[in-house]
Symmetry: C2
Subunit: 171 residues, 2 copies
């Protein structure tokens, strides 16, 4: 293979990953209750692609390209359908160094681009360690509510946070 061929192959894989992510990828940020942290909550960002076991090779292409992330299996014992595999990148370093620069260079074409932008803003806040304060957490929680999942934030909905927000508003 010539260097031009290699470059073309790389371009094809990259564009395929963008399309596959537009279809099946997910940029998500969750709040998890965790008593060992100062705020009582932990923020958990991840980039995920899920596939049935028969399409595991497609997930492996993504994993090999990025050179990071782990494969998790969701075993399905309740019915006859195939197991599900989740390719997940959860490390803040890998998200910062590999996933975010990739999708900055290669824009998504669906509305997932909006999720990606919010996701990268949140990662940025986390790198500045703002997620370790209640104020930063609220900022992150409000950003998550603008993502396509549109779930009510468990963090903002918690009675403790509501009391705190009410008392901040009164000040």
């Amino acid at each position: 293979m010539t260097s031009a061929d290699h470059q073309q192959e790389r371009l094809k894989i990259e564009s395929w990953i963008v399309g596959f992510t537009d279809g099946e990828g997910c940029f998500s940020v969750s709040f998890i209750k965790n008593k060992t942290t100062k705020t009582g909550w932990q923020i958990f960002p991840e980039f995920v692609i899920t596939q049935g076991s028969k399409s595991l090779p497609a997930l492996e292409i993504v994993q090999n390209y990025f050179g990071c992330g782990k494969m998790f299996i969701n075993q399905r014992k309740d019915n006859h359908r195939e197991n599900l595999y989740r390719y997940c990148v959860r490390s803040l370093g890998d998200l910062e160094d590999k996933i975010i620069p990739f999708f900055r260079r290669n824009s998504l074409k669906t509305f997932k681009q909006n999720d990606f932008k919010i996701f990268s803003e949140i990662i940025n806040l986390m790198l500045k360690r703002e997620h370790l304060t209640k104020k930063g957490m609220r900022k992150i929680a409000r950003s998550i509510e603008k993502m396509n999942t549109k779930k009510k934030s468990r963090f903002l909905e918690s009675s403790e946070t509501k009391r705190q927000l009410a008392s901040t508003a009164r000040r």
Copy 2:
């Protein structure tokens, strides 16, 4: 833009379409009851990609690239979520001339490749007009059962077809 740039852009769009189809595309063949046909059934192949209305531009990229197919809207009046758009290619000619050659040149990387192979075999049988006979219909119905949807064939399950299969077996 130089001709090399154009070629590179084209390569990127094509690989993105493959990835997006690996994620969200569907090759389906349905049997529909239709009293106006000789067999009482009509075979209905389609290539479909579905997206929420916010991602309509992504479907339009696919439609513009292929230069065929129609956009259908599934209005959702029952809840607050966005409408769904379905990009559908149903014409046998367009499937033969545009969709199938494209995915022959650009292989899918997920198990959808299996569905595509069966789909193109069925289109081939239809082009030979084999779907107009009960024998051809049974062959097509058995192929559909090997596709990933794994639904029981309404055609093979119909009482009339079962009687005919039983009488064929006795011969």
